[in-house]
């Protein structure tokens, strides 16, 4: 009898270990969100099933800020821009008296936000233009290697969501092509997306500024100009998806109302579709915000996720961990 009990224990341990090894989403608690993801992927990959989707049509789109990495208390690219303003300020003494730079230099985010599109254009022009895309990406990389998040005391590119990294890898392992579709800057994201998310530069859709081609002294170069070309947010997301991808995705992942139209467009297509919203309800491990928040405002998505059949992920309850182990 003793031997038999031991055998059962061993069997149970082995089967647990095997279940864990098979679990492609180990940082997700077993709940409706995780089950929904697994069931959807099983449906579209079952070769003789009624909902089979050919690999080339397995397009999954992910928002970035608040969906793949933290956007709280301020969008990371905005933190970068403010740091750049401070860095460049000694060369621009006039900024100390001129908005929106004065607000940027004093960290007055409220006045900055009130400066609207015009203010944004001025800040973008001063901090994101004038260089080649390669030079700009090098600046971003250098900033990411040094800047530290005020609360989490970690580099921003370590403040990505471990459960979402697992989801990206799981979808790719199942023949999906994963794209980022973000309101953030195209070239800003290209500085880290391949290294951090495994998403190559040609699979990133984002906001962009006008870029010009010029040949100086026989050497050709691209130059970033101080003019916004495209804002990849809200109704701009389906437009960006169509422009860059040219196929309606079958799965979309977001967190704010800026992603609403992307989820709407994705899930309104024929056949099996999947929409998911990450709800930031985890004040202890990250932050809790939705309605009325200045970053990642989520109102319509919260009201309509249920009736539209979109999974609503509770960071607090659905995620075992939020960030990867910090180095």
């Amino acid at each position: 009898m003793k031997f038999r009990a031991l055998a059962i224990v061993v069997l149970v341990l082995v089967s647990c270990a095997s279940a864990r090894a098979d679990d492609a989403l180990p940082s997700w608690n077993d709940g409706p969100a995780k089950q929904g993801i697994l069931a959807f992927v099983a449906r579209v990959t079952k070769a003789d099933g009624p909902d089979y989707v050919k690999p080339e049509e397995r397009i999954a789109v992910f928002d970035n800020d608040g969906t793949l990495w933290t956007e709280w208390p301020l969008y990371t690219q905005a933190v970068f821009a403010l740091d750049r303003v401070k860095e460049l300020a000694p060369k621009h003494p006039e900024w100390r008296k001129r908005q929106p730079f004065k607000a940027a230099l004093s960290g007055d985010v409220k006045t900055l936000a009130e400066s609207g599109a015009k203010g944004l254009n001025e800040i973008v022009g001063a901090t994101h233009a004038g260089e080649t895309p390669e030079e700009f990406q090098a600046q971003v990389s250098q900033w990411l290697a040094t800047a530290e998040h005020p609360k989490f005391k970690a580099h921003y590119d370590r403040l990505v969501y471990q459960p979402m990294l697992e989801l990206l890898a799981y979808l790719r392992a199942n023949g999906f092509k994963t794209f980022i579709v973000s309101g953030g800057g195209l070239e800003f994201m290209r500085a880290f997306a391949e290294r951090v998310y495994g998403v190559p530069p040609e699979q990133i859709v984002g906001s962009s500024i006008v870029t010009k081609y010029e040949v100086r002294d026989g050497k050709p170069a691209l130059k970033r100009e101080a003019k916004v070309a495209f804002i990849d947010d809200k109704a701009g997301k389906p437009v960006g998806i169509n422009q860059f991808i040219g196929r309606r995705p079958i799965a979309a992942f977001g967190n704010s109302d800026g992603d609403f139209q992307m989820l709407e467009w994705t899930t309104a297509g024929a056949g099996p579709r999947f929409g998911l919203i990450v709800h930031h309800d985890d004040a202890a491990r990250e932050a809790a915000y939705d309605r009325g928040s200045p970053v990642g405002r989520l109102e319509r998505g919260l009201d309509e996720a249920g009736k539209r059949g979109w999974a609503l992920v509770s960071m607090k309850n659905d995620w075992k961990t939020v960030f990867p182990p910090q180095r």
Copy 2:
């Protein structure tokens, strides 16, 4: 001795057959162009060689009109637009008296060309806007299935270049990601590029018109508007490459001066680079044109290919066949 001679003959025959089976570019005559392609691919794929390029950086860009399919005597998309004007004319009696429509209806290509950007915008607005991208692509597909080239008496999507189809497949078999970068319309090309070239919609860079997202009666849709958004030609090509691909290609293939900057940008990068221009010098099998031609004008490329190290392909001498066997 007889037996030995027979053995040698058999050996020679077997080795010839094997050489032929190994030839990934059977429609290319053995000359500097073919040798240049083979040598370049061997260099960048040799894992322990000094010029090895990682697969994710093996980006190859192809112009479409005149490089992958015929553009003579008139760009295929222009033929489509003129056919659409004729089809829509009964609903627009005013067109019979108004330029550029009057010229389009009478086939007066010269007057049409003289109507410039304004005329082009009007024709594009009348023939390329108002629908969803899916509806527009369905129109293009239907047109391709019925329209016939005036000289070659074949559907336009059969007038692709067999040697270039082999080249696309050969590069992909060697880990390259192949993109189309064309002055032609993004959605026009998406109607056939995957089926004909094996290039998926997300690997096409092209000219585009403004597209808007709208929800009508709860049903979301994209709508094509009568406004040109981006012209992917000349200096626009490196800009489009940067916007969509975000990596400088290592190989570029074109045929006209509209491709000059794309080849210049590609081959000015560090490390091994390859540029190739298809020269239309084959009046017997297709057409002979370069300097001063209204389609696919090639002047600067012809003058500078040599000193820039770009391969200049003679359709007449370098290609065994031009088009695939017609059905």
